[in-house]
């Protein structure tokens, strides 16, 4: 559940960053985005807030309304090695293929970004982490080799939120394998 949109930052610099986990808890690795925010939440200590989305993608538009800085974590199925981490800083480029087969229903994260762009509802800074999942059939629990990748993404997001000045314009890249 999202904290109120646009909650002021204790540091006084406008709304805090929002990290959104996407996925479904009943389909194994599809839950990885939700698990990532579960692990992240206790470690944020006021530096940001989290939200969870298990519905379809357009939900994101409401969740990130009024948030200048947003990070989204989702499972992807691109054919890469399970556990592969993709990071994408959304600028004016179309969202690349791995994110077109992401797990959100009906409307993928790539579609949501394109839709948000045509409606002028994109956050000023939007970073999407995708982790290649292994199993998407009904079932509870992440695959063994996915969990460490989730931990790594949590660390990266913490750095990201800490104000690490990444080059936000770089294209997506496969970063590491589980």
């Amino acid at each position: 559940m999202a904290a109120g949109a646009g909650t002021p930052s204790p540091h006084g610099a406008g709304p805090r960053p929002l990290v959104i986990g996407l996925g479904s808890r009943g389909r194994h690795d599809d839950a990885l985005g939700l698990d990532a925010v579960d692990r992240l939440e206790p470690r944020l200590q006021g530096a940001g807030e989290v939200a969870r989305c298990s519905s379809e993608g357009t939900e994101l538009l409401d969740l990130w309304d009024g948030r200048p800085r947003v990070v989204v974590v989702d499972a992807v199925r691109s054919g890469a090695v399970p556990g592969t981490i993709f990071r994408l800083a959304v600028d004016d480029l179309p969202v690349p293929p791995p994110f077109r087969s992401s797990s959100t229903h009906g409307i993928s994260i790539a579609d949501v970004v394109a839709l948000a762009r045509s409606l002028d509802r994109l956050p000023r800074t939007l970073v999407i982490y995708g982790i290649e999942g292994e199993r998407f059939e009904p079932g509870i629990g992440l695959s063994a080799r996915i969990s460490p990748a989730v931990d790594r993404v949590v660390e990266e997001i913490l750095e990201e939120i800490a104000g690490d000045s990444r080059d936000d314009a770089r294209s997506p890249e496969a970063r590491s394998h589980a």
């Binding site: 559940m1 519905s55 379809e56 939900e59 229903h105 409606l119 059939e137």
Partner: protein, 431 residues
């Protein structure tokens, strides 16, 4: 001799993914196989041995679009097994929560998934470039549905405030009144939506359906009721298994629901409207008349207008419930002190049709056996029947046109394959 197969490996704009295979032999459609729904078998197994109390939250995970439906059908079934009945303000709050899900789901389907078909756009993104106002309207309407679900469900997706017997906590009058202005606006948007979709151009197709829906003595059906059809069926939910069955199609491993001794049937907005038009709220009935919606819709493409009329109903019903609301003395009806082995049956109207749950409990209230039949599973055979007649009439179309036509036909039914698998793989074989 020519054989032709149409294969759609990714069905766009239906929730999740599925696959369609059509085989045409010497200008005869020999096979239509639609794999869009995987019954929630995993959850049926997962529920075994768990407490009756856990069913609403566990089954809500089956679908990201209609979690309320899963909660309501499971509550209905468990409450029947426990011998408790939920009435008054608590029951009204359930209807209110369900209105939120209908508004959210119908707005999503009308504007983002279905409308692009009628306006000649490949998807909502292309639609948004030329008609941003229409898409914004859809999103605004959807947002009000979500807000209602958040208010009553604890959070919009997979609501957690529902429990067997009612709610963990009921809202105050003030909390409900706070959302009233948004619903007034949503009602206007829903009426605008009905006028907009009624102005679209519809292919001229009529189908002969057996419509199946719930029916209540004086309400448009949402959270409960008897199961009725336009062919004389009228049964309580406990007779579902005696009336419907899931059969193996000869060419597929998928199970398909049929009337026992009969054929396919249709559940969802067209069925509800055909069987309950006399129970619509005043403005919903008025808008249906204004836009010229026939009393019984048998053109599946016109289901988009029925969804809009139902959205008007859901907004109006939500306002009625809020205005009449007095917080109940207790947020839930407690379970009995002593449980006995029992079986409970529950049905409710998910946005896309009736959702059936059956649970057998032991004397400790542990689930021994669970059966869940989702609306898309029930509609699957009916969708295949439509596709068969559609392809038979359109054999001279080229591959791309035929594929597009099949996809449109499937979207008419708003199938929820996210309840199933995520990834839809058309396979068109002509030989």
């Amino acid at each position: 001799m020519t054989e032709r197969t149409i294969a759609v490996n990714y069905l766009a704009r239906v929730e999740g993914e599925g696959a369609l295979r059509v085989r045409i032999h010497d200008r005869t459609v020999e096979e239509v196989e639609l794999k869009i729904f995987e019954p929630p078998r995993f959850f049926e197994a997962f529920l075994r041995g768990r407490s009756y109390r856990e069913a609403p939250d566990i089954t809500a995970r089956i679908c990201g679009i209609c979690p309320v439906a899963y909660q309501m059908s499971s509550c209905n079934a468990m409450e029947q097994a426990l011998g408790i009945s939920v009435t008054g303000a608590v029951r009204e709050l359930r209807r209110l929560l369900y209105c939120g899900e209908w508004i959210e789901s119908h707005a999503l389907h009308i504007y983002l998934l279905h409308a692009p078909d009628f306006l000649g756009y490949p998807d909502a993104i292309a639609l948004a470039k030329d008609h941003p106002e229409a898409v914004k309207q859809g999103l605004a309407l959807k947002k009000v549905g979500n807000a209602l679900m958040t208010l009553l469900g604890g959070r919009e997706i997979h609501p957690v405030n529902v429990r067997i017997g009612g709610f963990y906590r009921c809202p105050s009058r003030e909390e409900l009144e706070a959302i009233r202005p948004d619903l007034v606006h949503a009602l206007e948007l829903a009426e605008t939506t009905a006028r907009f979709v009624a102005g679209l151009t519809f292919p001229k197709i009529e189908e002969d359906y057996e419509f199946v829906s719930l029916r209540h003595p004086d309400e448009y059906p949402l959270a409960d009721g008897e199961i009725v059809s336009n062919r004389g069926l009228r049964i309580p939910p406990s007779k579902y298994d005696e009336t419907f069955e899931e059969i193996h199609a000869p060419y597929s491993n998928a199970l398909q629901s049929v009337r026992k001794g009969g054929g396919s049937y249709l559940t969802g907005p067209m069925a509800r409207y055909a069987l309950n038009r006399d129970r619509l709220s005043a403005r919903a009935r008025k808008i249906a008349e204004e836009v010229g919606l026939e009393p019984i819709v048998t053109n599946p493409y016109r289901s988009i207008i029925v969804r809009a009329v139902e959205t008007v109903f859901a907004c109006e019903e939500a306002l009625r419930i809020i205005d009449a609301y007095r917080p109940p003395a207790a947020p839930f009806v407690p379970p009995p002190d002593r449980l006995g082995p029992a079986t409970g049956y529950g049905v409710s109207e998910a946005p896309r049709g009736i959702l059936y749950h059956r649970y057998r409990l032991d004397a400790q209230g542990l689930i021994q056996d669970a059966k869940i039949v989702a609306p898309t599973s029930q509609n699957q055979k009916r969708i295949e029947d439509d596709l068969r007649s559609l392809v038979t009439r359109s054999l001279d179309l080229d591959e791309a046109a035929l594929t597009n036509m099949c996809e449109r036909a499937i979207r008419n039914y708003d199938p929820c394959i996210s309840c199933a698998t995520h990834f839809l793989d058309l396979d068109l074989v002509r030989d």
